[in-house]
C-alpha cells in the first residue's frame, strides 16, 4: 500500500512539474452515443465514453503519448434481452482502456515508436485490404471510426528514411490479441455466430424421440498462439514516390487475428441405462493460423490541366497467402471445414470535388478467392460473417458524398456501400457544430439484402443514432 501511495504521489508530482514546465499537454472528450432500433423501437445503445490523451515532450528527440478510454453502455442493464451480451458489451473490456502508450524517438532519418499503438496501412476507406496490422473489434460491425475499431498492440515501429519522401518501416509485434465480434443477443451479432450457438443449444438439449435421440455435448476450446519469439508478427512497408505517384510495398507475416473453428473429433458413448440414449460428444477447437500478406498501395492526385484534374486516385492490392476460408452448406449455414487458399483483395478509389464544395468519393473493390469450390461436391465456400454463400469474386462498391454549410458548422454526408449481390448499407448523417468543442451528430443506418450477406444479415437492425461529443 505504501508503495502504491508513493508511486501515486510521485506520479502526481511528476505531472504537476511537467505541466508547469509547459512540456505536458492533454486533450480528450466526453461523448454520448445513442441508437434507436427501428424494428424493435427500443434503444440499442446508450453509451457514454470518456477518453483522455496526454503528450509529454521530453526534448526534440523524445515524446511520450498515452490515451486512456472508458465507456459504459447502459442499455445492457435496461433490457433483459441483452442479458447474455451484458458482460461483454456493457462496459470496457480487459485492457482495452489503454488505447495508446508509446514513446517516440526521432533523430535524423530515424523514427521509432515503441509501445502500444495502432498502425494503419493502405489507402482504402472502410475496407481493410492492407489495414491488417492490428486486430479489430467488430462488436458494432464496421460502423465505428477506424481508430475505435482497431485493437492496439504492443509493438516496435521502426522507421528509417534513406532519402527524402521515402520511408522504410519495420514492425515487430510480439503482442497478440484476437479480433472480436459481438456476442449472442447483441444488436450486431454475426449470423454465423448465432447459427453456431443455435446448433450448440440444439445439440445439448435433452433427447427428443426420433428428432434428437441422443444426449449431446459440444466442447469448444480456443488455442492462442504461444508467446514464443518465433510467433512474433513481422510487418515491413516501403514507401516512396515515383514522379508524382506515392506508392507502398507491404509485407505482413504472422498469426491471423481471427480464429477459425475446426471440428476435431466426435465421440459416441454408449448408453449405460434407461432411457438408452447414447451420448454424442463433438469436440471443436478455435485456432489461429499463420498467414502472409503481400501487397501495395498507390495514390496520385491529377494536378495538371486536363479532364482528370482534381481527381485523387487511390489503390490497394493484397494477396493473402494461406488464408483460412470456411466451406459448408450455405443453405443451412452449416460449416464443415476450412480451406487454406491464396486470396486476392484489390481496390481503386476516386475522389473529386464537384460543384464547389461537394466531395464525391467512389470505391470499387474485388475480393477474389483462389477457387470457387472447396473441392467437395455440393459444398460452397462460406462468408465467415454469415455462413452464407461466398462468391468466388465479390464486387464491392462504395459511394460517399459530403459537403458543408454555414461556415463548416453543418456537415452532411451520405455513405452507400453495396455489393453486386444486391445487399448493402446506406448511412446518411449530419454533423452540427454547436460550439467549438461541442458537436452533435444525427444519422441513420439502413441495411438491406439477403440475410446470408454481410450487410443483409442486419436488415432488421436499421437504426437512427445520435452522438454528442464534448472535446477538451
Amino acid at each position: 500500500m505504501r508503495k502504491i501511495l508513493t508511486f501515486f504521489i510521485g506520479g502526481v508530482l511528476f505531472l504537476a512539474q511537467a505541466v508547469s514546465a509547459g512540456e505536458f499537454s492533454y486533450s480528450g472528450y466526453l461523448k454520448n452515443e445513442l441508437s434507436l432500433g427501428l424494428e424493435t423501437e427500443q434503444l440499442t445503445k446508450f453509451k457514454n465514453i470518456f477518453q483522455i490523451s496526454g503528450q509529454y515532450v521530453f526534448n526534440d528527440n523524445f515524446v511520450a503519448f498515452v490515451t486512456a478510454k472508458y465507456w459504459y453502455d447502459s442499455v445492457y442493464d435496461w433490457y433483459e434481452r441483452y442479458d447474455p451480451a451484458q458482460h461483454y458489451m456493457g462496459h470496457i473490456q480487459r485492457n482495452d482502456w489503454l488505447r495508446d502508450c508509446y514513446l517516440d524517438y526521432m533523430n535524423g532519418p530515424w523514427f521509432l515508436r515503441l509501445g502500444k499503438q495502432q498502425v494503419s496501412w493502405g489507402q482504402a476507406d472502410g475496407i481493410a485490404i492492407l489495414d491488417r496490422v492490428n486486430p479489430v473489434d467488430l462488436s458494432e460491425y464496421w460502423l465505428p471510426d477506424a481508430v475505435d475499431l482497431r485493437i492496439p498492440l504492443w509493438m516496435a515501429n521502426i522507421n528509417y528514411s534513406p532519402k527524402l519522401n521515402s520511408n522504410l518501416q519495420l514492425l515487430i509485434i510480439p503482442d497478440f490479441e484476437q479480433s472480436t465480434a459481438a456476442p449472442p443477443s447483441a444488436p450486431f451479432t454475426f449470423r454465423s455466430y448465432k447459427l453456431f450457438m443455435d446448433f450448440k443449444k440444439f445439440w445439448e438439449m435433452p433427447p427428443i424421440p426420433v428428432i434428437k435421440p441422443f444426449y449431446g455435448v459440444l466442447n469448444t476450446d480456443i488455442y492462442y498462439p504461444s508467446k514464443k519469439p518465433e510467433h512474433t508478427k513481422i510487418g515491413v512497408q516501403w514507401q516512396d514516390r515515383i514522379s508524382d505517384w506515392d506508392y507502398t510495398l507491404n509485407y505482413l507475416y504472422g498469426y491471423d487475428y481471427l480464429a477459425r473453428t475446426y471440428l476435431d473429433s466426435m465421440q459416441v458413448i454408449p448408453p449405460v441405462g434407461p432411457p438408452w440414449y447414447p451420448t454424442l460428444i463433438r469436440n471443436y477447437s478455435r485456432r489461429f493460423k499463420l498467414v502472409q500478406m503481400v501487397g501495395g498501395s498507390l495514390n496520385h492526385t491529377f494536378t495538371r490541366q486536363g479532364p482528370l484534374k482534381g481527381i485523387t486516385f487511390r489503390a490497394d492490392a493484397a494477396v493473402y497467402m494461406n488464408e483460412p476460408t470456411y466451406y459448408g452448406d450455405a443453405s443451412t449455414g452449416a460449416s464443415y471445414g476450412v480451406n487454406r487458399w491464396d486470396n486476392v483483395f484489390w481496390l481503386i478509389g476516386l475522389d473529386r470535388y464537384i460543384f464547389t464544395k461537394w466531395l464525391v468519393s467512389f470505391q470499387f473493390a474485388q475480393y477474389i478467392m483462389q477457387d470457387a469450390k472447396p473441392g467437395i461436391d455440393n459444398y460452397q465456400t462460406l462468408n465467415s460473417y454469415t455462413n452464407g454463400a461466398q462468391d468466388q469474386v465479390e464486387n464491392i462498391f462504395s459511394l460517399k458524398i459530403s459537403t458543408h454549410f454555414m461556415n463548416d458548422k453543418l456537415k452532411p454526408e451520405v455513405l452507400w456501400s453495396f455489393t453486386d449481390d444486391n445487399q448493402g448499407r446506406v448511412s446518411p448523417k449530419i454533423n452540427y457544430e454547436i460550439r467549438d468543442n461541442l458537436v452533435f451528430t444525427l444519422g441513420f443506418h439502413y441495411f438491406y439484402g439477403n440475410v446470408q450477406d454481410s450487410n443483409g444479415q442486419f436488415r432488421d437492425c436499421n437504426q437512427v443514432y445520435t452522438m454528442l461529443k464534448f472535446s477538451f
Partner: protein
Amino acid sequence: MKKAVLFLSILLFLSSYALATELEYFKVYRPHDGMSADQIMEIEYHIKYTKFAKDASFGGKAYFVDKSGFVREKETFRKRITLGRKSDDIAYKDLVIFISPQVKGMGTLTWTYMDAKRQPDSWIWLPSLKRIRKISSANSDDSFLGADFTVEDILLRRFEDETYTLLRTENFGGYLCEFDKKTYYQGRPCFVIECKPKRSPWYYAKRILWVDKNTGAGIYEEKYDATGRKFMTLFKNFEIFNVDGKAYPVQTIIEGKDLRTGHRTTIINTDIKLDQGLSEEEFTQRTLMMSRW
C-alpha cells in the same frame, strides 16, 4: 515611326512580362511609382506567398463570428518552406497542425507547384483514422476551412489567373478591424488595382485591391459580383520583420467579411519566425504521422 512604336511597345510588354514572371525567390521587392499594374501585382503575390523567405512558422488562431456575435475558434500551427525548385516544380510546402480540441492532432501537408495551372498536392493525417490520406484539393471557390474567404483567396490564386488595371493611387481611408477595434493603414499611400478573373463565369466579377506603396502588400480588397454588388471584403495587416538585414512584410491579421450573411472570420498569426533553417524533411508524410499538438 509606326514600326518604332510597335517595337518599343513589344519591348515594353516583354520587359514587363519578364519582370512579371521572373521575380526571384528569396529576394525582397518593393513597388514604386511608374510600375504597371502587372508589375505591382507580381510583387503583391511574391509577398502574399512569402516567397522572399526561405521558411516561416507561426501559430494561427481563427475566430468565426456570426451575425449575432456568436464566436467559434480554431487554432493551428503552420510551417512553410519555400523551395522555388524548377527540377520538380515545387514552389513551397506547407504543414498545418490543428490544435483546437475538436480536431486536435489533425494535420495537413500541401505542396504547391510553380506551374500556376497546377493544383497543389495535399495529404491529411486524420486522428480518427490514425492514417495519412491523400486528398483532393478543395475547389478554388470553396470557403477556406469554413472562413469568409475562399481557398483561392488564401492558397490558390496566382498572378496568371486575373488581368489587372491600375485605377489610381490614393491614400487608403483606413480599416477598422472588428477583432481588436483598431484602425489600420489610415492615410497609407496605395495603388488601387482592379483585378478581373480570366475565368468566366466565376464567383466574382472583379476585385478592387489596395496595395501598400511602401511594401507592395495587398492590404484590403473588395469583391464584386456580376451585378456590381460588393459582397465580400478582405483585410490583411502586415508587419515588417527584419531578418538578416532584410525587411520581410508578413501577414499578422486576416479579416474577411461576407456582406451577404454578416459572418466574419479573423485570423491572428502569432509567434512568427522566419528563415530558421527548417529542413525539407519536416515536410513529408512521415512528419504528419509524428505530428505534435
